[in-house]
Structures are given as structure tokens and as C-alpha cells.
Symmetry: C2
């Protein structure tokens, strides 16, 4: 039986789903001669580690209780100290403790540090565990979208880092792109709709509905962030575009990406509240979008909010695309990625499906962890 110890950072929706998936896959993985051993879990305040972390991880009932405490009860991990079986460390002490464990395990059995947080703060500990011989799996985009130095440091040992769920959740985007790259098939361009929210919005305005109405509907369906401007601004799509561009070898930063925001600066969060934006600001944008939709339709095209990566170009914004292309045919909140290479030159390689959701994001993280198994003794 091959044993893979891991420490999880971030136990929000994705992290909890990951722990539940690990528990429910026990017998499947055991059939494959694999045991995933959760040795530690960290939230924004504390780190809990298993008593006997060098040999065992938390048992499954502890992991499920941990998820219950975090998701249902909304409590801090430090509450788990009452259950025994674990030791609790508060920040900032927790960071040193993770490095201690990484240093011990990195040289012997190996360790996977899993980042399911949404924080910029994890990049330091991630870089340090890379040096200690550990593997890194990320759903968190932030460590890969900070400086180019951080990115290259994390990729010091490219086989030890996985991050499928940073782009398109569990959709096999990164795995497929890495296969293309390693087979020497040159990528000529990537164009993709990588925001479920903006995919939904653009296909609804195509039907003639006013932008303001569509955004409000998307918000009430739970498709948007609490402040829909977090989606409409395009920054999250730009992060995904940056990760893809860097994988293709572009040595660029967020600053180098041209981002089209669907709302003007004068309607930004520092100027108006989200209520005022939804009640008064947003509808002022309806006419412009409607005119652009109609103009595109005259050319037989539709508008999509996409990332375009091509040569040295990396852009995020509205593009006019043929109605009869994979992106043009997109309806609803699916993500779609078109990859053009020497092998896929006339017609692109297309990957399409749900690109958001805790369940599928966690599934992508779990597949990444399992895929690291050959690096473990």
C-alpha cells in the first residue's frame, strides 16, 4: 500500500468537499494500492495536525466532524482540540509547524501541500515546501498569478506541482494543455469562456434581454459573487488567462493583460454600493451592450466574454465570434476552451463543461493528488 501524506490549507466549500471525497474514495483508492493520509488541516486561524502524523492521518470520522464544524456550524478549527486525536496551533505559529512537518516528510515519505484557500498568503509556505522536496496541489489561483519569480519558484520541479482546478474547476484543461506541450505540438492560440457567470450573461443578452435584468437574474440564481462587479470586472478571468499564458511560456504579469471591464470605473465599489450599482448604475449600461449585440448579429456573429492568448497577446474581454463556433454556440454557464495547435489547426481541440462548483473543483484537486502517486515511495 502506497501512502500519500497531505496537509490541506483552506477548508471552505472546496476544502470540505475534498475531505469528503477522500473519505468516500477510501475503498476505491485502496483497491489501487493507495492511501491518502490527511496529516493536517489549516483554516485562516489555526492548524490542526494528527497526533501520529508520521504514520497515520486523521481517521475518517474526525475528518467528517471537521467538515461539519466548518461548513454547518461555521466554527473555527481550534474547536477540534476538544476531540483529542489532534494538536492545534494558532497562527503565526502554524506556518513554522507546516515547515517542520514538510522538512521531516519531504526527505522520507514525501508530502503534498494542498491549497484550497482563496488567499494570497499561502505563496510563501508553498515556495518553501517546494525547496523541502514536497509536492504542491492548488485550486487557489493567487499563488500562480503573483510575480513571475513566485511562479517560477513554484515550478522548480514541474512534475511535483499540479493545479488543474485553477482554470475551469475540474475540467481537464491543464492536464490536456500539458499533454499538448510535452508532445511538442505548438500551441498557436487559445480562446476560452472561463467564467460561468459571464458565459450565462452573454448568452442571455444575445436573446435580447437587458444586461441589468440578466445580471440580477444571475445573482438571484447564485451564479455571481455577492457583489456581481467581482465577476463583471473580468479580474478572475484574467487570472485564469495568466495561468494559461504562463504555461505556454509567456513571462507576463497581471499588469500585462488587457482587461475589459463590463462596468466603468465610475461605478466601482469605491464609488457606489452594490445596492446602488444594481438599482441605478447597471441599467445605464443596457443600451451600449444591446447595440453591440445587434451590430454583431448583423455580421452573423455573437458576443462572448473570453480570454484570448495568441503570440505575445493576452487579452480578456468581449469578442465578436462566429455564431457557428464552439464558443458561439455556448449557452448557459458552461466553460468552453478552444485550443489551436499544429494538430488542431482547422478545427480546435474543444473542452467544455461546468467550470465552477465546489464538487467538481474538489474532484479536480483529488485527481491531481492521485496523479502524483508515482513520486511517492
Amino acid at each position: 500500500m502506497k501512502s500519500i501524506p497531505l496537509i490541506l490549507m483552506g477548508v471552505g466549500g472546496v476544502g470540505c468537499h475534498l475531505l469528503q471525497h477522500i473519505v468516500s474514495c477510501r475503498s476505491l483508492h485502496s483497491q489501487q494500492g493507495l492511501c491518502l493520509r490527511v496529516a493536517g488541516v489549516r483554516d485562516s486561524k489555526s492548524l490542526v495536525i494528527a497526533e501520529d502524523l508520521l504514520n497515520k492521518g486523521f481517521d475518517d470520522s474526525f475528518l467528517l466532524e471537521l467538515c461539519r464544524i466548518k461548513s454547518a456550524a461555521g466554527l473555527s478549527l481550534s474547536k477540534l482540540g476538544d476531540f483529542g486525536e489532534c494538536r492545534v496551533f494558532e497562527h503565526p505559529e502554524s506556518q513554522g509547524k507546516i515547515l517542520d512537518i514538510a522538512s521531516q516528510l519531504g526527505k522520507t515519505t514525501g508530502l503534498v501541500l494542498v491549497d484550497c484557500s482563496a488567499s494570497s498568503d499561502t505563496v510563501e509556505v508553498l515556495k518553501q515546501v517546494v525547496d523541502l522536496g514536497c509536492c504542491v496541489v492548488m485550486a487557489n489561483k493567487k499563488p500562480l498569478t503573483s510575480s513571475m519569480e513566485d511562479f517560477e519558484k513554484l515550478f522548480t520541479y514541474p512534475r511535483r506541482i499540479r493545479h488543474e482546478s485553477t482554470v475551469g474547476a475540474g475540467l481537464p484543461v491543464i492536464a490536456s494543455l500539458n499533454r499538448i506541450i510535452s508532445s511538442g505540438d505548438p500551441v498557436n492560440g487559445i480562446i476560452g469562456s472561463l467564467s460561468g457567470t459571464l458565459g450565462y450573461v452573454m448568452s442571455e443578452v444575445e436573446d435580447g434581454k437587458p444586461l441589468s435584468q440578466v445580471v440580477k437574474a444571475a445573482k438571484s440564481l447564485g451564479y455571481t459573487e455577492p457583489d456581481p462587479r467581482d465577476d463583471l470586472g473580468g479580474t478572475d478571468v484574467a487570472r485564469k488567462a495568466l495561468i494559461l499564458a504562463r504555461l505556454l511560456g509567456h513571462r507576463i504579469n497581471m499588469d500585462n493583460i488587457q482587461i475589459e471591464s463590463l462596468y466603468p470605473k465610475e461605478m466601482g465599489p469605491d464609488i457606489m454600493t452594490v445596492e446602488y450599482f444594481l438599482g441605478h448604475g447597471l441599467s445605464l449600461l443596457d443600451k451600449d451592450i444591446q447595440e453591440r449585440v445587434e451590430k454583431a448579429a448583423l455580421n452573423g456573429n455573437v458576443l462572448r466574454y473570453v480570454c484570448v492568448i495568441e503570440d505575445s497577446r493576452c487579452e480578456v474581454g468581449i469578442q465578436e465570434l462566429p455564431k457557428n463556433s464552439p464558443l458561439g454556440r455556448l449557452r448557459g454557464s458552461d466553460n468552453v476552451l478552444e485550443i489551436y495547435t499544429r494538430c488542431y489547426s482547422d478545427q480546435p481541440l474543444v473542452i467544455q463543461g461546468a467550470g465552477a462548483g465546489n464538487d467538481t473543483t474538489a474532484a479536480g484537486v483529488l485527481a491531481d493528488i492521485v496523479d502524483l502517486q508515482d513520486l511517492f515511495p
Copy 2:
């Protein structure tokens, strides 16, 4: 520098492209600390092995000359004896020689046996090298579609076998399915158009063109086998369906797959020549297909030649599908696969792109080889 020795069986179009890709990726792979060392190449008559195969492989000029001899000149590998740098073994002696090498390398550096042939005869040597601790990469479907015993034997060590290019050429179908399986996301169903030829044929008859005319056009475009009945019979699609079904855990054989042939037994190759079939037989089938197309259209549907894998069901044939689904929207010769799982339940995960061609098939094989690197010292 990590060195991966390999022996290639089959140097038709795919095998030659693979060797060319290996040569052209030298500097890319070297940057990744990787060296692919071609230690031997086998065609249907002979095996050539590198002089110093334990330490070096053939040099690149030898490999390119080998491709030239095979593809341009159409000669046998035994001609290469004249060039030095290699030893030539004729069949059946070659099989024993491969096992000798596998036995030597399997215990030390490891070895990848790559099957780019289209032969049923390779399964015996493949099974034996698995026992010797070697890895196997296949573009050849036949070893995975013979008996269930052979299949299970080849998968004795699942991490050491890769076969992306057996389904949809280089499209990331197998890699994506394996990720889904290892994350414990249950697959509820797969439906796919896995023949470029039949994809083209079905989208053309949808436009009202007679089947006979479409098949003849496809033949002259080079889309079909020399005898188009090899495509129209559905056996090749059934092989791919069988591979997918077995990956999902179905313990079935080719006999268990219900295959709809687009021509009746009375027009089979043992009854009429290909010329007679194309000149006289085929047009007798036009009316029936046309009526089925029209009937489907009345329901707002289109006809597609697909494989359907669902519960214990595995079928290959014409299905009526919604015009407005990824498969229904398919035009031309692309392959499309829809995978339904817990995570992709309402909308499937869709993978689409060119599913044939020596270049893309060889790219899939190369990505498989590179992906085995963590198993090598």
C-alpha cells in the same frame, strides 16, 4: 538527465511520425531533464536494435533515415543493416530478443514498449514485458480488445500502461476519463461519435445528400479505409467503445457489443467486391437512410453514428439525438465525446476535435511516454 529507453513496434504512419516527433522534441525534453532513447524498432518482418542499447539509443540521423526507408521508399527495416550502428533480427527470433532486452532493462533503468502497429500479434509480447517490469504505451487497439484476460493482464500495473491514442487519436479522452475515475466521480454514461468518417457521413446525409454520394465523396477525400465497409460496419467504433467500457469496469468482450452496420450482410466483402459495392450496392441503401433522417428531423432531432455506454449497456450504431446537443451540432469529421457524471450531470463534459491522423495519434503516444517519466530512475 532522466533517460527513458523505448522499443517501438510498428513503423507505419503513426510510428514514423512518433520517431520524427521524438527527434524534433529533443531540446524541449532536454530542458525538462528528459531523454527518450530509441533502443529498438520493429516492423512486420524485422527488429533493428541499437548497438549500445543499454547506454545509448539510435542517433537522430539514423531514426530519420529509418523513417525515410519505411515511408518514402517502402522498404523493410532489414535494409538498415547496411548502415552499421545496429543489429538486425528477423522474425520469429525478434520476439525473443525484445524479451531479452526487456528482462535486462525492466529490472534496472526500465523500458517502454510502444505499440504503434495495427496487429493482433503484439499482445503476447506486451503481456510478457508487463511481467518483466516494463511500461507499455499503445496506439494499437487490438491488444485491449481481445479477451478480458489479456486486458486484465496488461493492466496488472495500471500506472505502467498508457493508451490515449486508442480512442480519438490524441484527444485527451483516456487521460480525462482516468482523472474522473480516480477522483471517485461516478460515470453515469458516455455517448460519443468516435469515427471521423461516420461523423462526416452522418452530418452530410443530414443535409439531404444521398448516402451513396456522401460515402464516395468521403472515399475520394481520403476519409475512409480503402474499402469503406471497414468504416461503415462499425467494428472500429465498437473497439473504441469496448476500451471505454472496460475502463469503466464493464467486464465485456466484442461479442457483447450490439453493433449496427450501415450495410447489410448481403453486401459484405465475402459476397461483393468493393467496386461492385460502391457501384451498385451502396445506392440501394440511400432511401432507408433518407427516410430515417427525415423522421428524426420531424422530432427536431438528427441522426449520429455513436457509441453509447450506460449501466451494463454498450451499443454502437445510429441514434436520434437532439439537434441542439454537442453531438447534434457536430459537423464534419471531428470526434465528440459527451461524458455524464455526478459532477457533469445536467450538462456533460465534452471533448471535441480531430480524432484521426498520424500526426495527432503520434502526439498522443508521445505525451503518454513523457507522462510515464516518474516511474523511471
